[in-house]
Symmetry: C2
Amino acid sequence: MMSEKIDLRRIARELNISVSTVSRALRDSHEISVETKQKVFALAHQLNYVPNPYASSLRRQKSKTIGVILPELPNNFFTHVVNGIEYVARQKDYHVLIYITHEQASQEKALIRHLQSGRVDGVLASVCAQTNDIEHFLGLIQLGIPLVFFDRVYEEIGVPTVTTNDYEASFAATEHLIQQGCKHILHVCLPLHLSISRKRLEGFCAAMKKYGLLVDSHSWLVADDMESFYRALETRLIGNCAPDGIFASVEKLAITVYHICQKRGIRIPDQLKVLAFSNLETAALLAPPLTTVTQPAFEMGKKAAEILFRKIEKRREIFEEQHYVIPSALIARASTLGRLSYPKFSEEHVAMNAEK
Amino acid sequence: MMSEKIDLRRIARELNISVSTVSRALRDSHEISVETKQKVFALAHQLNYVPNPYASSLRRQKSKTIGVILPELPNNFFTHVVNGIEYVARQKDYHVLIYITHEQASQEKALIRHLQSGRVDGVLASVCAQTNDIEHFLGLIQLGIPLVFFDRVYEEIGVPTVTTNDYEASFAATEHLIQQGCKHILHVCLPLHLSISRKRLEGFCAAMKKYGLLVDSHSWLVADDMESFYRALETRLIGNCAPDGIFASVEKLAITVYHICQKRGIRIPDQLKVLAFSNLETAALLAPPLTTVTQPAFEMGKKAAEILFRKIEKRREIFEEQHYVIPSALIARASTLGRLSYPKFSEEHVAMNAEK
């Protein structure tokens, strides 16, 4: 590993100045003449000198790095969010450190505790499904480390949030299923202490009630873990009181629905209509193409990063209670349209044109 | 931000010992008695003390972090690789820093140069498609920072590599297309200076020749950028000499094929058979289900991380020239089987059972 000390000494020796002068020149200190700075920079460049970031960080108290906490990675929504975050970070010349909690509360706590130690200048977080304990996030806030939540948020702890219009988009999606003839819709979702789960369920229930449809505890199914969810959903779909529509609150639950329908020979959309909150790039290519509530993932990541950098740069216009909402779009495809046995290209074209 | 200095002093004051004793106790030094260590650890825990990682890093020359360089993120192969890497890193109590080059040579160079400064203890890299310049990687090696390549590798610079059996898997996939009746197969791939592109193309050409099929410069199409690739492929697919089979060297090119076929009404598999190197989780749910060469992504990430940690821990059994190969599996689905107008569930079941 290259030692900073040796390099600074070498530059000092070759230019016949003190190490401290070299160090201050490299930090662009006003105490050092422009002429000396130019000589130091030229030689440093020639020697391929790279400052040690940890030494620099201690001096400046800046890591030039932001941390991003994601609940899971094979997830199209989060990958687009990360691209939005990176877009902003690149402009600020910051590095993006991505951490994955795998939906584990213990992982989330360990990571946040780790980040309390000054490794990053700020944190963007989407919380995991396994807990609603906020102690570790409060610890971060108490230390003054800037924090912004996106998508899965805790609104009550005084931190800016970036979300989509979960309630309204969910209401509109439910209305779409009802207008396509569904009467017994099953809403499948992640645990209800997650903000996105609660709001999307509330939007679903409100729309059902508006149309006079029954809502009771059989109207939704919570996926605590994917294996038991698969079994519970399969039982519902082949039972006597099978639903005629499924609204998946997150993408991976819709993929489970498709797998069960394929295995059990349940025909989408003529026996069962399906839609989901999803950023799946193959949504239009599935058999049949999947109707999606498409979230503005890139824009959400971009907005969350912009707010975080305003906090890092201590700009005054930031209000901790500010909640930014970027609306989603319903894209109707064959999985909710008509009573087809097979996907018809004509209908998908309508949907694809609507995307443009 | 919590200051380490103040906390060490407070622990020292409260226990009536020196700051240096506290510091050595926290580092579990043999110079300090077990009794003193226990007192220091108990009080540190009580005070919620978190050591500053940059100060610790300077002392130990360990960042307890590894860097992972990925060419792109919305990519199912790489997300599974990252999960394999994280699986190992968690056991070692290391953090994983994920960097994305977006296939840009300038990004890759900037990141590697940044990592030369001691921010990470080791680097796992899959190289970007835009360059075959290796200077920046040589810089990393000269500084003694452990490096392991996975998937997209430079074999000639004396660094361990983890790949799949690109040539053999490609040969077998091509043979499968030929056995299904294809005579004019188009191989679509990323730029040929990438190791995976070259080997997969070589496997394809060898299989074509084995069966006496023509191979010339029209037998493959390189995707330099996705927009011009889309146009070039569309032209080929609707032209007079349209291929009867497509072998996509990477997943995203197969998705482009499906989009063009959907737009142009080209029926898969009766007009065109399609297969791809892919870890797409929706492969079996597409219209029609996509035949894949499925790479052992998780295992590749796990193996690459294990080798990196052996290098970081300076174990002697590591040979820089070692190249690990983990084989892929061909999973035949409807996109290459029979002459069907629509996907039939029965055939997909065969394919799905084959997966188990």
